[in-house]
């Protein structure tokens, strides 16, 4: 039984007819001028009317997507006189906000750096560990191969980021890769290895060496769950389903903790901290330009808002990463990641007539643009029953090229994901369309994971500067652990040196003043904490009586 309706199966038959002829053949790579033209015409980042310059704050003038400007040019969620911040419920050395890969690494490292366990507090909006970190399939880069070096890794990261990266961050990322893998192995992460015991290394887009280490296609899941297991073992205090809604500053403007909101009881909780680590991830759930996303439910860009309220500098938010192959069918999977490794192993994007129209391994931006053009410029996509357009990713080619069993062996997660909907990716292609994937920029940090505001550290996707304008596959996983550990280490170092500060919400008054001076009149409030997916009828009838 096929999971596709009959009209889609008709198109699949055309794909099957051309498969034999396409196998082992490819489509020419774009020339530089072709690439520039297709990006300008079809990549979402270049679409006119989708961005605007920020009108307030330390990064005023930076061009950002409207959806990002909307949450930054918004009123804070809380009013200073609503909350008595001098009455703090927790008084800790290190507060970590966000329990994905970066936050867990920061908390573990703060403890290893000598902070007493009870003086660390982890807060997490969802369940501990639930994060984009966990959803990462493709792998993690580290220059451990005999023909590789951190210097080559450095060059790849800089080139991938269009040389807009901060070189001192790139240096740290490249050099600490091998040590991160060593740390993971000491904690019991199972990496894929060759029969001779060496690490299995695969290729990724934009890398000059095979540098991707993998844990099947569950790389992020494996690493995150081991860190989480260790986090529980170390008995570090935590609050789940509790989110940070505002940071606290002392009279000098340094960050001294946060105001939390308990999502079960709706009460606020004040935490005073000597160091605060922001590890809140990205913004996929803002659905930039209406795109579906690979991101988890909590990825609403909260960290950008919190950091901007206290005056932290942001960067590179003009560039957003769209992954070329998000699922476009069935409806239940729309926007979900179909790993780049599928194309790495031979799967080709083809249109509804079974025709090749792009090289399968263009850079992510160009590949995305070509798929969008095929659907909306050339009208050669397939429209789903819910009105979404996509092209076929011809996955059966993988087994055809590498032998039966390859897909089942190497792509557990992908195979299972589609089998749940009666689509056997060994036999039938999958429908794909670009999906919002990664926040390339964010809160600017230095190699000590310090933001521009003393007391506030940041690590992971919330940061900017590491990946420049475009991140390469496998470098976000690495980034989590390199800068997560650094944030933990230097947050601990600061906590040992400084005296506890006096918490205020002075920065909110300043923020309101900025809004007023810029003439921004709006009802919007931020951070938004959760995306709004409730039905139209419900939203029209809500009244708050309790």
């Amino acid at each position: 039984m096929s999971g596709y309706p009959e009209y889609m199966r008709e198109s699949i038959r055309l794909v099957e007819e051309t498969r034999g002829e396409r196998a082992g053949r490819s489509f020419p790579f774009m020339r530089m001028d072709e690439r520039r033209r297709i990006l300008e015409e079809w990549h979402p980042d270049y679409k006119p009317g989708t961005k605007r310059p920020l009108r307030i704050g330390p990064s005023k003038g930076m061009i950002v997507p409207h959806e990002v400007a909307d949450i930054l040019e918004a009123h804070p969620l809380i009013e200073p006189d609503e909350i008595d911040v001098s009455d703090f419920e927790y008084d800790v050395d290190v507060l970590v906000i966000g329990a994905g890969g970066a936050g867990l690494s920061a908390a573990l490292t703060a403890q290893e750096s000598g902070i007493e366990t009870e003086n660390i507090l982890m807060v997490q909006k969802l369940r501990l560990g639930d994060s984009n970190s966990k959803m990462s399939q493709g792998g993690i880069q580290a220059a451990v191969g005999p023909d590789d070096s951190p210097a080559l890794h450095f060059l790849d990261i800089m080139g991938g980021g269009l040389f807009a990266n901060k070189p001192e961050l790139v240096e740290v990322l490249a050099k600490e890769g091998p040590d991160v893998i060593r740390w993971h192995e000491s904690l019991g992460v199972i990496y894929d290895k060759n029969p001779d015991g060496t690490m299995k290394l695969i290729s990724g887009g934009g890398t000059c060496r095979n540098r991707m280490l993998t844990c099947k296609d569950y790389t992020g899941l494996e690493i995150t769950r081991v860190l989480l297991d260790e986090f529980y073992n170390r008995e570090i205090p935590y609050l789940e389903f509790t989110c940070a809604v505002e940071l606290l500053t002392d009279p000098d403007g340094e960050v001294v903790g946060a105001v939390l909101w308990d999502m079960d009881s709706d009460e606020y909780r004040v935490v005073r901290a000597k160091s605060t680590v922001l590890a809140t991830g990205g913004f996929g759930r803002l659905h930039i330009q209406g795109f579906e996303t690979t991101n988890h439910y909590g990825a609403t860009g909260d960290g950008l808002v919190l950091a901007y309220h206290v005056g932290a500098i942001l960067r590179d938010l003009d560039a957003t990463q769209y992954h070329p192959t998000g699922a476009a069918y069935p409806e239940q999977l729309v926007g979900q990641l179909c790993t780049e490794a599928l194309r790495g192993r031979g799967a080709q994007p083809v249109n509804r007539f079974g025709e090749l129209f792009v090289h399968p391994l263009e850079t992510r931006d160009a590949e995305s643009a070509a798929i969008i053009r095929e659907c909306y410029g050339r009208e050669k996509g397939i429209t789903t029953p819910t009105g979404m357009r996509g092209v076929w990713l011809d996955t059966p080619l993988i087994d055809l090229l590498h032998g039966p069993g390859t897909i089942e062996r190497e792509f557990h997660a992908m195979f299972r994901m589609f089998m749940r909907f009666n689509i056997d990716i060994r036999k039938e292609p999958i429908l794909v369309f670009p999906t919002l994937h990664y926040m390339n920029g964010g809160v600017e940090i230095n190699p000590r994971a310090e933001t521009s505001v003393p007391g506030l550290f940041a690590a992971g996707e919330v940061c900017g500067g590491v990946h420049g304008k475009n991140r390469l596959m496998g470098n976000s996983q690495l980034d989590l652990y390199v800068f997560g550990r650094r944030a933990g280490r230097y947050a601990a170092e600061r906590a040992r040196k400084v005296k506890p500060g006096r918490p205020t919400l002075n920065h909110l008054e300043r923020y309101e003043r900025w809004l007023k001076e810029a003439g921004i009149e709006t009802e919007r409030k931020a951070p938004i904490l959760l995306p709004e997916y409730r039905g139209k009828r419900t939203l029209e009838h809500i009244i708050r009586l309790l």
Binding site: V144, M158, E185, L187, G220, L333, P385
Partner: protein, 223 residues
């Protein structure tokens, strides 16, 4: 699966008409729930949305991930916002790989009835009972391999009549397997040491000192 078809579901007993092409999670949202618990990655990778349901007229209690299971007409649904289970604290460095580790930390493992209910509950279709049995025998490699795709949704533990928590056992097996049976990679250790000794510092310093045009040229010629 036409766009307009509707089905009737009962979310915590309340009746709702929802589009037939939605997952349980999206149907709950359509019906008016803004999920705080019970939603995570929304892609079948995190295990946060464990759900139990019955079909009207059926005695069978079924389990699913709300983000992966489509609604069906007559489904009676409730989510499990939390799975009560106890993860034992241990120091990996002090453990000795073998059956005794599992018996020490999770002695209830010996109560396994081999009923296979855990396997039937697993939304990842893992052979849960087989990995629990492997752990009981001290076969850490098999326990690690069979449990590898586990997303810790906890449904196995909720269904087990012997009150075993298989997913914690799988996690312990995998860490033991990596740490003690496979062991650390020499290649990785060596490269990490080389970095610490400063072997690449000079080259990276040189790259950092170049202007963008020179760096771009070097990048485009890298082989």
């Amino acid at each position: 699966m036409s766009g307009g078809e509707m089905v009737t579901v009962y979310i915590m007993g309340k009746r709702y008409r929802v589009p037939a092409n939605l997952t349980i999670m999206k149907a709950m949202e359509y019906a008016g729930y803004q999920l705080r618990r019970g939603a995570g990655c929304r892609g079948g990778f995190c295990g946060a949305c464990s759900t139990i349901y019955r079909m009207r007229g059926s005695f069978r209690l079924q389990v699913a991930l709300a983000c992966q299971k489509m609604v069906e007409d007559g489904m009676i649904i409730t989510q499990l916002p939390f799975i009560p289970s106890e993860k034992k604290r241990y120091n990996l460095e002090k453990l000795k790989p073998g059956a005794s580790v599992f018996l020490e930390y999770y002695p209830e493992i010996a109560r396994c009835l081999s009923c296979n209910t855990c396997t039937k509950a697993c939304p990842q279709d893992l052979m849960v009972m087989d990995y629990v049995q492997a752990a009981l025998r001290g076969d850490i490699k098999t326990a690690a391999e069979l449990s590898f795709d586990c997303i810790s949704c906890g449904l196995c533990a909720v269904r087990c009549p012997a009150e075993i928590v298989p997913y914690h056992i799988g996690q312990l097996a995998r860490r033991l397997y990596s740490r003690y049976i496979v062991g650390p990679s020499e290649q990785v250790q060596r490269r990490a040491m080389e970095v610490e000794m400063g072997r690449f510092d000079e080259e990276i310093q040189r790259l950092k000192s170049l202007d963008t045009d020179t760096l771009r040229e070097l990048y485009s010629r890298r082989g």
